[in-house]
């Protein structure tokens, strides 16, 4: 069940070239849509049947999101792809545009057709600029082959896609900050409602999906939603790319069926490096709560199972930590990240993220105070749910998760001024 949907051609030389994508049935789905003049309702229905859920982290049902788009609204509408992957632990979308950019283009064109859009934009994390250039080259190839641009495949329908790069701001992965950024502004999230489906890019109806989500669309259109669903499990359709980093022998991306046991994923990634023991896993990117290794070993990789273990599947970004990791130090680094990346718009996040970082930093450096853990809980609790976007929650959740499972390490640091794991 590995590499069924997205990475099916990854083993081929120059898999990113159009000619090679066409050889493995690329653009068959788009050709089918255009030849059969598939009704938009039918495509949306198949996406609903597939149980595809947003792969960027929130897990929102894609078919439902698409049905919110006012397709009959006169005037411009947009499809936006979110390849602004910058949460520690995430690196799957990079490999999609690096190894299979045309499948994303095909998915975006089908989305444009279905949602009645005039244009699509793919917002790409600035730090992976070489992949941005590769995606632009793929767009050129697709235009030259009449798969994009004017009168696509002789259908009389025009739709173009452009690439827009970020330039160093994690918050732009939040969909409304991303829209602000495409408009050439600071990436500060917008208050919702109105939601992008009614007021999106340039104030026009807009659907924003993650890269992996859109790259799954051709498979669903080609094989039907039911087949995609069966690759995973009910309510958790399809395969999912899991990005495994940290203390494993073979870090990398693994595309497997939803519901695969974590044990199997860990084995695919070569197991824990250097024969050490598993300590903990952050299963969905740095903003989700940590899960102790022994709990993780009984979890299957899908939204529902990870949620039962007290965390989130997020973007499928699995950070593995072995027994040598000091959780205070790990949390110090993550908290610095959220402090650094807060856009500064909402007071609880702007001030709270800095506060969390400074308190954790003093605990890590032997200056913790007896009341600090209660203080951390209070600050984290006062950020949660009190900000415009989820970055505030993202700063608070790792703190809450660490204190829930590894409180003793923080207490030891405060009491003894040093680490119980490595003595430093």
């Amino acid at each position: 069940m590995a590499n069924e949907v997205i990475f099916h051609s990854i083993h081929l030389p120059e898999s990113w070239k159009l000619e090679n994508y066409l050889k493995v049935g690329g653009f068959d789905a788009l050709k089918k849509v255009i030849a059969e003049q598939m009704p938009a309702e039918e495509i949306i229905n198949q996406v609903k049947i597939s149980a595809l859920r947003g792969r960027g982290g929130a897990g929102f049902p894609t078919g439902l999101k698409w049905s919110f788009m006012p397709r009959q609204f006169p005037g411009d509408k947009y499809v936006v792809c979110n390849t602004d992957e910058g949460e520690p632990g995430t690196f799957k979308d990079k490999d999609i545009i690096r190894y299979n950019p045309h499948q994303l283009i095909e998915g975006m064109v089908i989305a444009g057709y279905t949602l009645g859009a005039v244009a699509g934009y793919n917002y790409i994390h600035g730090e992976i600029f070489e992949c941005f250039e590769r995606f632009e080259a793929a767009l050129e190839e697709a235009r030259a082959a009449n798969l994009l641009g004017k009168n696509i495949l002789g259908s009389g329908w025009d739709f173009d896609i452009h690439a827009h790069h970020g330039y160093g701001a994690y918050v732009c992965g939040e969909e409304t900050a991303l829209l602000e950024s495409i408009e050439g502004k600071k990436g500060q999230p917008r208050f919702k409602p109105p939601f992008p489906a009614s007021f999106g890019l340039y104030g026009k109806p807009t659907t924003i999906n993650n890269t992996e989500t859109l790259a799954s669309i051709p498979y669903i259109v080609k094989h039907g939603g039911q087949k995609f669903l069966e690759l995973g499990k009910p309510n958790n359709g399809g395969t999912k790319i899991f990005s495994v980093s940290g203390h494993v022998a073979k870090p990398g991306n693994y595309e497997i069926g939803m519901g695969t046991p974590f044990k199997e994923l860990l084995a695919m990634a070569g197991g824990i490096k250097d024969g050490r023991k598993l300590k903990a896993v952050i299963p969905g990117g740095s903003s989700v709560p940590v899960v102790p290794g022994e709990i993780m070993m009984d979890v299957t990789m899908d939204y529902d199972s990870i949620s039962k273990a007290g965390s989130y599947l997020g973007a499928g970004s699995v950070i593995v930590m072995d027994e040598t990791v000091c959780m205070v130090k790990a949390l110090e680094r993550l908290s610095y990240f959220y402090f650094e990346e807060s856009c500064g718009q909402c007071t609880p996040c702007r001030e709270g993220a800095g506060w969390l970082y400074r308190v954790i930093q003093r605990i890590e450096h032997g200056q913790g105070r007896a009341e600090d853990l209660a203080l951390l809980e209070s600050v984290a609790g006062n950020i949660m749910g009190r900000t415009i976007c989820a970055l505030g929650d993202a700063a608070a959740m790792p703190v809450q998760g660490m204190l829930k499972h590894y409180r003793n390490e923080f207490e030891y640091h405060i009491k003894h001024g040093k680490c119980m794991v490595n003595g430093g």
């Binding site: 730090e127 970020g166 330039y167």
Partner: protein, 157 residues
């Protein structure tokens, strides 16, 4: 202030967006200007704003919000090393130590000959290949070891 080639490149970016939405190209335009001039001086930022027919403050807001823009001169080669958690688990601390020892500078410093600057960076979305760095924002080098770092530095004239 910018070469005809750079302006052509900016025009190509402007064409991606609807008419009257030239501001959308400001991120690319500032990037293109920075590649040509090495950093973004106040004059450069205002020049870009004028070229796109947007208020200077709009370009300033972007230049100061996104952290890959340089508002002060940096060395010929800016090396940005990711130090976030996954990269740290995979050896970023020793890569940074080695780089700092070898170049004789710390983060946010430039070698006396103006050749290298070192920056601490946040997540670059490539954690599976850590530890890693970028050279002048756009070229990524991965799986850093002392040998790989030696090779990278030797390749920069």
């Amino acid at each position: 202030m910018l070469s005809p080639a750079a302006l052509t490149e900016i025009d190509r970016e402007v064409a991606k967006y609807p008419p009257l939405r030239k501001q959308s190209a400001v991120m690319s335009a500032l990037r293109i200007a920075q590649i040509e001039l090495g950093w973004l001086s106040p004059e450069t930022i205002e020049y870009v704003a004028n070229y796109l027919e947007i208020p200077a403050i709009a370009a300033w807001e972007v230049a100061t919000f996104y952290n890959m823009y340089e508002l002060k001169p940096v060395g010929k080669y800016k090396l940005s090393v990711c130090t976030n958690l996954p990269c740290t688990l995979m050896g970023a601390e020793s890569a940074v130590e080695y780089l700092q020892r070898k170049l004789g500078i710390g983060f946010n410093e430039t070698t006396p000959d103006g050749k290298f600057s070192l920056k601490m960076s946040e997540c670059m979305g490539s954690c599976g290949e850590g530890p890693l760095l970028t050279i002048n924002n756009h070229k990524m080098k991965v799986r850093l070891t002392p040998e790989v770092i030696d090779e990278i530095l030797a390749g920069l004239e």
